[in-house]
């Protein structure tokens, strides 16, 4: 089994937004599975991490929530991306790429001989 990682502060929100962008409206369980699968099970989320993060995004206006029947006819709360959420996703993704490039450049540097 691969090494387990903790979800870094702030990155979970980005993962949720991206998941909703790719898969469309989805319930908490679906989001959870998708994140775990995408991370090849290196990330596990318990409810106490996921649901406060969803609520926070909802409070910030990036996602909306709605009760509707699920694929096997149970009631579930579906989350969907808002316009503001899309913008936020684009912005955060851009920032992440920049940061990642920067860090990669730094770590890629070789030891210089004086």
């Amino acid at each position: 089994m691969a090494e387990k990682l903790d979800v870094k502060q702030g990155t979970l929100a980005l993962m949720i937004l991206k998941t909703l962008e790719v898969l469309g409206p989805l319930h908490g369980y679906g989001i959870n599975r998708r994140i775990e699968e995408t991370s090849k099970n290196r990330l596990t989320l318990n409810y106490g991490t996921l649901y406060p993060a969803l609520l926070k995004l909802e409070q910030e206006g990036f996602i909306t929530a709605e009760w509707r029947p699920s694929e096997n006819n149970r009631r579930a709360k579906y989350y969907a991306l808002t316009a503001a959420g899309r913008k936020q996703l684009a912005r955060e993704a851009r920032e992440w790429h920049q940061t990642a490039d920067l860090i990669a450049a730094f770590l890629g540097a070789r030891r210089e001989t004086p």
Partner: protein
Amino acid sequence: MRYLRAALRRLAGFFTGHRQDDELREELQSHLDMETAEYIRRGMDPEAALRQARLSSGGLPQAAEAVRDQRGLPWLERAAADLRYALRSLRHSPGFTTVVVLTLALGIGANTAIFSVVRGVLLKPLPHREGNRLVYLRQSHDGPGGGNVQFSVPEVHDLRSGAKSLGGIAEYSPFFATLEGKDGAIKIDIGLVTGNFFEVMGLSPVLGRLTLPSDDGTGVPPVMVLTHEFWMRRFGGDSSIVGKQVSLNGGSATVIGVLQPAPFFPDKVDAFFNMVVSPHHLSALMIQGRTHRMTEVVARLTPTATLAQARAEVAAVYTRMVGEFKESYDPGSHYRVGVIPFKEVLGERARLTLWLLMGAAAFVLIISAANVVNLTLMRGVRREHELVVRAALGAGVARLRRLLLVENLVLTFLAGGLGVLIGIGGVGLLTAFAERYSPRAGEISLDGVVLGFTLTLSVALALLLAFVATLPKEGSFAAWIGAGGRRMSGGLRKSRLQRGLVVAQIAVSVMLLAGAGLLTRTMIQLSQVDTGLQTEEVLTMQVSLLNPARMTPAADAESKLLLDRMRQEIAGLPGVTEVGLGSHIPLGSSLLSFDLAAEGKSLAVGEAIPRGDFRTASPEYFHAAGIPLLKGRNFSSTDRAGTERVVIVNQTLADRFFPGEDPLGKRIAWTGEVLKFTPIRGDWRTIVGVVGNTQDGGLDALPRLAVYQPFAQEFTMFGGLVIRTDSNAKALARAATRIVQRIAPTAPIENVLTVKQIKDQSVAPRRLNAELVSLFGVLAVVIAAVGIAGVLAFSVSARTNEIGIRMSLGADSGRVQRMVLKEGVVLVALGLALGVTGAFLGAQVIQGLLFGIAPRDPVTFVGVVVLMAAIGISACWIPALRAARVDPAITMRST
């Protein structure tokens, strides 16, 4: 925007959150169900699938709690819970709560009240535009009456042309006038001003206009500007006052405006007039007489000038003046000039007293805070059990500390609120007190700044209290709990802190008591000063009949006639034994003093020219006032206009001019340039009698030289009546006043006082000082006594087991009692030593407030030490007795 929206939703969640709980539970459950179903689909049996799903969920209740935290405002919810808890816990210890709130409230109240006064009188910026650029100029010289001699018009002129750092010079001549109204006449204090006065002072009208340069000179109509205070007092704030005519000194003047509230120095002013009101002020005598000093000077520094520059320039101009006009500046009297910031001079008389009171109040607060800290420490120890249980149930140190902080905030805010109420009462009392000392008493108010001060005090105290209750480190709870939650407590560090606080309380109390003792003895010394009057059954009153602007011989003759009619009619009242007339009432300051010369006596080089007080007296005056005739003869009816000029002098004058000689038959004369501005002549006058000294101008006034002329030979001046009665002089006041009003309906009547009242007035400010500081002292001692008794009682209760063991091993109750007493006596002795040292060093500071005793008066110090020791030891006695009554059998069994 995003944060604002999130915050608003959370705030909404705080109130509606509980309704969403069901929904949340359903959502979490559906997640669990779906996950379980997934595990079953992968081939797990249902039971194992559910277990696996639960495991990966991390716990539904925990998740629900985490969401709830995100939903509402958890800190607000916790704070509300803390507050509820604090209130409940305080309600359960009403004794503790009451003592803490009361002692703190007294401390905070005293500080709030006195800080209001200090701020209003000393600290607030002046109401004048750029008031910090105003400076007061004071000319003074040595000897009685030389403290502030004002300036003459030529002197002001020299300053104006010589001192360039003074951008403007505002001059006003303090004077008085008779204002007639429907309900009789009153004497008012006025300022005669030039047109630029208000511009330089930086003051504005609240109504109408102020004087302008066009109001200067002769031939202009007389105009009047009311001060705000006088407008309210006399005219009830009548807004239609502008443009009205008032009757003044028999003439009239037009009210042109009302001035904004503003303080004046050295004395309060009721109204301002242009110079035309007093022909004298426009005469050549006034304008050219260098020694005719009748003008107060306030100047405005130019925007670039500093105080130091102004001082240097004024000093240079003054030195030049003194060199050029030697005859106007008696070298022996050491004339000098001071440049003082106006704000500073306004607080001059109040400063020492106020800082003393502020210090005393701060001391009381320190003592009560120390007491509260001690009480909190003790209560903390008693609550250890409770805190341990809370810790065991999961409350961290931070949470416990927050609990204590909320509790202390509740306590201190209660105390602060009560303190503000006490402060409001105190400010009322203190404002009346401050009026004696400061022209700015009207600016005292309990405003936002003062409330902020109180609030800051309260919060600071709460923080302090929360952090002295030393909580154990996070890890050590286990040990605590292991000890069964009943630790035999009061660790060494804590008890050292308690003891240190008790020592400090006693030391501070001693210092306060020493101050109170010194001030009380001052008051007693002062009230025992001999006035020089042999009886107290004397009523005085001052009836100013002469119009100060028109002192003609005809007017004078008329006023003498009226006064004599008053004398005769009042003498006919039942109970009156004698009535005397004079220029001034006895014991009042003369306001008229001039240089004196004695025939055949010359001054030594550098000796100051002696000054004497001018007074007149009818033949009945001395006997009516009870002033003893020591030598020679009294005036008689033959000493009248046209006969030889004779005088009676007081003992001080006789000793000053004729030491070891018989003064009778010697001649003295008024002298100096100033005489030419007065109706008084400089002829030689023969001394025919010597009378005893009287304490004119206050019981603490220095002895003055007094010269009495026959009433009939001089101008009446202020017109004083002295009424001797066989009993209860006070009861006669009304009947006598009625007679005076009937004979002279337009004359203002002042100083209707018995000799006893005059004495009381003179002692009153010092009595109030003594009473206030004594009140603080008593408060401090009571709180300190509670403090020491409390700490010892606590120490006894913590040592009950030990005492039980000692007693069962043979210690008798006397021995136990001594043991506890010794513990207390050491603290008292330490406190006394520290306090006496502090008081000894500090006493010098209040020397200016003392009279008749040294700042290190041994009687006071010994008295204070004995008193404090007695109280301290008595306070130790109660816990000592309780220790002695410990029953060894009971304590041993309960261990």
